[in-house]
Every structure is written in structure tokens, then in C-alpha cells.
């Protein structure tokens, strides 16, 4: 079952990377980044699960799951949201200049 989580998170990560590499709309690029992030988050949380473990809230009945990846994931979620908000700000500002959200047109700087 933990393998299932790994497989899905690797799939999300690679799908996100593929989207970033191939899609032309800047919004799709951001969607790709969000998917990559989701992949990493899912990896952390599915790793943290231990069969039979309860949520890391005291008092525990029996054993608990690993709390440290949860804390790391929380941090990563908030940081990811900040990155994405900034990406939107860039897209909105660029769109005013370029009248387009086509990343192929954001490639005037070359060489």
C-alpha cells in the first residue's frame, strides 16, 4: 500500500515536470508546478503512515504515525502557495506587456 502512494506521487511529480516542459500556456506551467508539489507532499505523508498507527495527537492509543514528515509537509504547502502566488503576479504583469500568456512568447531573451 505504501508502494501505491509512492507510485502515485512519482507519477504526479513526473506529470508536473512534463507539463512544465511542454505546455505553452503560462497557467499550465503553474499547474505543472502545483502537481510536482502535490507529488512531493503525497510522498512525505504516505511515507509517514505506519500500519496501525493513530494520528499524532496525544494521548495516543497504541502507536502513532511519524509526525515529522507532517510538519515538513505543512511547511512545504505554505511555501508552495507563496511561490504560486508570486507566479501569478508575474503572469499578470507580463500579460499586460505581451498581451499573451504564451510562454513561447516569453522567450525574447536568448543567446
Amino acid at each position: 500500500m505504501v508502494l501505491m502512494g509512492f507510485a502515485v506521487s512519482v507519477f504526479l511529480f513526473c506529470l508536473g515536470l512534463f507539463t512544465v516542459l511542454t505546455r505553452r500556456s503560462a497557467f499550465k506551467t503553474v499547474i505543472g508546478l502545483m502537481l510536482m508539489e502535490s507529488g512531493v507532499l503525497l510522498l512525505f505523508v504516505s511515507w509517514a503512515y505506519i500500519p496501525g498507527g493513530g494520528p499524532p495527537i496525544l494521548p495516543l492509543q497504541g502507536t502513532g504515525v511519524d509526525p515529522l514528515p507532517h510538519a515538513l509537509t505543512l511547511t512545504a504547502i505554505v511555501i508552495g502557495a507563496c511561490d504560486i502566488a508570486l507566479a501569478f503576479a508575474f503572469i499578470m504583469k507580463l500579460e499586460r506587456f505581451e498581451k499573451s500568456v504564451d510562454v513561447d512568447r516569453f522567450r525574447r531573451l536568448r543567446g
Partner: protein, 507 residues
């Protein structure tokens, strides 16, 4: 009982204050802006001075020995530890000098629009010091994200179309890099159950080889994206050349160096070179040669002076990677020294490029004509800086390059040694025409400034130019060179760093 042992002495507080002072300055400046807007310029100057002093203080205390500080009093296995050694000290000096110099250019004279900008600048500085002193892998990722968010905005804040495009590219690639880094951090945590670098270093050897390899690939890719390593270099010239002068200075002089520090630290702690097998440092060596060649060749065709300098930064990251890839104390010491020389040198070059561009009214160096003869002193300083970065013999840059070449030859990597030597020739091929046109042999003279205009920030440029000569002493004085060599061997065999953590979990 509690596993708290408290802060360990006053000297370690310097390390903490190098992060906290600039960070708090950013927060306080935001509030002060409403209560005392007319005094902002003075407050910013004060904060910059304090941040510079704190960074230098941290460098001074960590130069002599390993400084560790347990944050919140938690033992290393449980909480976050700051750990700074001699390598951190060298980079902290770069951060202090670079931060102060580019604050001088980027934040002054202060205008109302710059208030948020100044906040971001100080946060950037804090995160640089954080990267250089943290001893925790996830904390390193957090500081990288702070650094990245500030750097994207500062690169785009010039608000021209090119700057915004460069900022967006930087953001997308930087975020991809950060996610690769996070993936690598996750893999390492899964394999070892700890995030403390020293503990990881002890435990990483026992990880499953497949997982360790994947983690190494992820981390090298992530940090490679941040330092502009060869296949991931294409954002760097855009971001470093479209930003304003002060921002270009800190991006090219300090930010990529801090990322390089993280790469050096992680690689030698976690993925050390294995004899007779292709290991991570060997990969760095190959990628370094490729970066060097790409950077120099691309710089050749550039007429935009800042773009030329930015491509040269890609090439010089290649030198640093070659030095690290040699995996010998000599090579690493060369890389450290070269980071210092290139940091100050490239900052001076960007500073002067900005001044020439503002005098000439554009950034095409073919139109700079006669500026050289109008400002002989500044241009002489500029020539010293360019010579040092290119690696002309008596200047500082030559000696660090020489160490790297020697290390490559010692390792038997003749192609790397040859490429590093050829790099000097290639640099001359683009610096010589530049100076030729600067001394009045240009095709068109479009000097738009009046005859009485002084050279912008000429004083700072002269000081940096002098450093290009003085830093040669770091190699030529045997005592100082031995210090660098010892720093190199400390990184190559990080036994002291590993032993800095004695009680992983128990008090």
C-alpha cells in the same frame, strides 16, 4: 528531564545574529516606514551596517573553529542546529562584503518606492547567512526558498519587459529546482530517519544504493538549477543581466556562491567520492567543464555588457565545480578562493558596467567610447577586476585558477585542466575588445552625459579593484594559503563536522 542544554556561549550568538539581524531589520523597517518615513534612509544604513558587522562577526568566530548552536535548546537529533565552520566563514565574508556593497548601490539614495524593496533585500541577506550556517537539511530547503522568493522579485523588480520575463523564467526553474531539492531531502529522511547534516553524514552510507543514488540525482539537479550548472544554466544570464545594478551584484556575486556552498557541503558530507567508481564529484567535474565551455563561448558574442558578464558567471561556476569535482584539498581550497575572488571581482564588474551604461545611456559596450579616457582611475580599477576574473597572472583570480588547474592535473583530469586554462584565453577574447572600445576606438560615440558628470560609485569600484590585487596575497603568503588548504581538507574529510554532534537525541 528535558533535553535542553541552552545556547552554547556568546560566540555562537554571532552566528545566530547574522541571520536574525537582517531578518528583523526587514520586519521592523516595514513598521517604521509608517511611523518615521523621513528617517528611513538612516535606518536602512544602520541596518545594513549591523547586518554586515554580524556577518563578519560570525565569520570571525567560525574561522577559528567549529561553532554550533542548538536552537531552542534541542539536541541535534530533535531540533535544528546551526553549525558554521571555516568554509562557512569564507562564504560569510563574501556575504558580508557583497551584501554591504550591493546594499550601497541598490538601496541608496533611498526613495519612497524602495521601502518594500529594501525589506526584500534584507530578507535575502538573512537567508544567505542562513544557508551558510544551518546544520539541518530541511532548514536549508526553507532558507533556499526564502532566498529564491526574494531573488525572483528583486530580479523582476526593474519592471521592464525583459526583467519580468527573466523573473518569471527564474521563478519557474527555481521552483522546479526547489521541488527536486525537497524530493531529495525526503528520500534522505526516509533512508536515514534524520535531517541533521552531521547525523545524515554518518547514516547515509547505510542507505540502500538505489535510494541514495536517486537522492543524489535529485539534490544535484535541484542545486544545479540554482547555481546555473550546465544543462540548467539558461535562466541565469537573463536574470542576472536584466536586474538593476545593485541586484545583479548580489545575484552574481553572492547568491550563486551560497548555492554552491550548499552543494559543496552536501556532496562531501553525504555523497563523497569513491575511488575507482563514477561518483557524484566526478559528475560535478564533467558538468563543470561543460558549464565553463558554454559560458565562455556564449559570452564571446555578447555586446550587452551585463549579459556578457552574466555568461561569464556561468563559466566561473564551472571553475568552482571543477575545483569541487577534483575532490582534493587543493581543488576545494582553489574553489573557495576562487569563489571569494570571483565574488568581489564580478560585483565590481557589474557595478562598473552599470555606471558605464548609465553614462552612455545604454548597455551596448560598442557605444562606450571615450569613457575610458575620461575616467582613467576608475577604468584602471575596472581593468584590474576584469584581469583578475579572467585570470591574468599577478592578479588574485589567476592564483585561485592556478590552484584549480593544479588540482585537476593532479587528479589526471587533463581535459578539465586544459579547459580551465583555455578559459583565460577565451575571457581575454571578450574583455580585450571591450577595453579597446572603452578607450575611444568605438564605432559610435553616444556619450549622453554632460562633461562634468562624475563616475557613479567610483569610490566603491576603486576599492573593489584594489581587492583584486590584494587578494593575491591570500595565495602568495604561505600562512594564509595553508589556512585555505586546511579548510579544503576539512571539507574533503568532514570528520570534525560529523563529530560536532555528540548526543543525537539524549541530553
Amino acid at each position: 528531564m528535558l533535553t535542553a542544554s541552552g545556547g552554547s556561549g556568546v560566540s555562537a550568538m554571532w552566528v545566530l545574529s547574522s541571520i536574525l539581524i537582517p531578518m528583523t531589520a526587514a520586519f521592523v523597517l516595514q513598521v517604521l516606514d509608517y511611523s518615521a518615513p523621513e528617517r528611513m534612509g538612516r535606518w536602512i544604513a544602520l541596518s545594513a551596517a549591523a547586518a554586515c558587522a554580524a556577518s563578519l562577526g560570525a565569520a570571525a568566530v567560525s574561522w577559528t573553529g567549529m561553532e554550533t548552536l542548538r536552537l531552542g535548546g534541542w539536541s541535534p537529533g530533535l531540533g535544528i542546529v546551526l553549525a558554521a565552520d571555516r568554509m562557512s566563514a569564507i562564504f560569510l565574508v563574501i556575504s558580508a562584503v557583497g551584501g554591504a556593497a550591493s546594499a550601497r548601490i541598490a538601496l541608496f539614495p533611498f526613495s519612497k518606492e524602495q521601502r518594500r524593496f529594501s525589506g526584500l533585500f534584507f530578507i535575502l541577506w538573512a537567508s544567505l547567512n542562513g544557508i551558510l550556517t544551518t546544520g539541518d537539511l530541511f532548514n536549508l530547503y526553507v532558507f533556499f526558498e526564502i532566498l529564491a522568493v526574494c531573488a525572483y522579485v528583486l530580479a523582476g523588480a526593474a519592471m521592464t519587459r525583459e526583467a519580468l520575463e527573466a523573473g518569471f523564467k527564474y521563478l519557474v526553474l527555481g521552483t522546479v529546482g526547489a521541488l527536486f531539492l525537497l524530493m531529495g531531502v525526503g528520500l534522505l529522511y526516509m533512508g536515514t530517519g534524520t535531517l541533521n547534516l552531521a547525523l545524515l553524514s554518518r547514516a547515509a552510507g547505510a542507505m540502500a544504493p538505489g535510494a541514495l543514488g536517486a537522492a543524489a540525482a535529485c539534490i544535484v539537479t535541484g542545486l544545479g538549477l540554482k547555481i546555473g550548472m550546465f544543462p540548467f544554466h539558461f535562466w541565469l544570464p537573463d536574470a542576472h543581466s536584466s536586474a538593476s545594478t545593485g541586484v545583479s551584484m548580489i545575484l552574481s556575486g553572492v547568491v550563486v556562491k551560497a548555492s554552491f556552498y550548499a552543494l559543496l557541503r552536501i556532496v562531501f558530507l553525504l555523497f563523497p567520492s569513491v575511488p575507482d567508481r563514477f561518483s557524484v564529484p566526478d559528475a560535478l567535474l564533467v558538468l563543470g567543464v561543460l558549464s565553463l565551455v558554454t559560458g565562455h563561448l556564449s559570452a564571446l558574442g555578447q555586446f550587452d555588457v551585463k549579459r556578457m558578464l552574466a555568461w561569464s558567471t556561468v563559466a566561473h561556476m564551472g571553475y568552482l565545480l571543477i575545483g569541487a569535482g577534483c575532490a582534493s584539498p587543493l581543488g576545494i581550497a582553489g574553489a573557495l578562493l576562487h569563489a571569494l575572488n570571483h565574488g568581489t571581482g564580478k560585483m565590481g564588474l557589474f557595478l562598473g558596467a552599470g555606471s558605464y551604461a548609465s553614462l552612455a545611456g545604454n548597455r551596448d559596450w560598442r557605444t562606450f567610447g571615450s569613457l575610458g579616457s575620461r575616467f582613467p582611475l576608475e577604468t584602471a580599477a575596472y581593468a584590474l577586476l576584469a584581469g583578475s576574473v579572467a585570470g591574468i597572472p599577478p592578479l588574485a583570480g589567476f592564483w585561485s585558477k592556478w590552484m584549480i588547474i593544479c588540482a585537476a592535473a593532479e587528479k589526471g583530469a587533463w581535459i578539465a585542466a586544459l579547459a580551465a586554462g583555455a578559459g583565460t584565453v577565451l575571457s581575454c577574447l571578450y574583455y580585450v575588445p571591450f577595453f579597446y572600445s572603452l578607450y575611444g576606438h568605438s564605432e559610435a560615440d553616444t556619450d549622453t552625459s554632460g562633461p562634468g558628470t562624475p563616475f557613479p560609485s567610483g569610490m566603491l569600484l576603486t576599492v573593489l579593484g584594489a581587492s583584486a590585487v590584494l587578494f593575491a596575497l591570500l595565495y602568495l603568503v604561505p600562512g594564509l594559503r595553508d589556512q585555505f588548504l586546511s579548510a579544503g581538507s576539512l571539507i574533503k574529510d568532514p570528520e570534525i563536522y560529523r563529530q560536532s554532534v555528540r548526543a543525537p537525541i539524549a541530553p
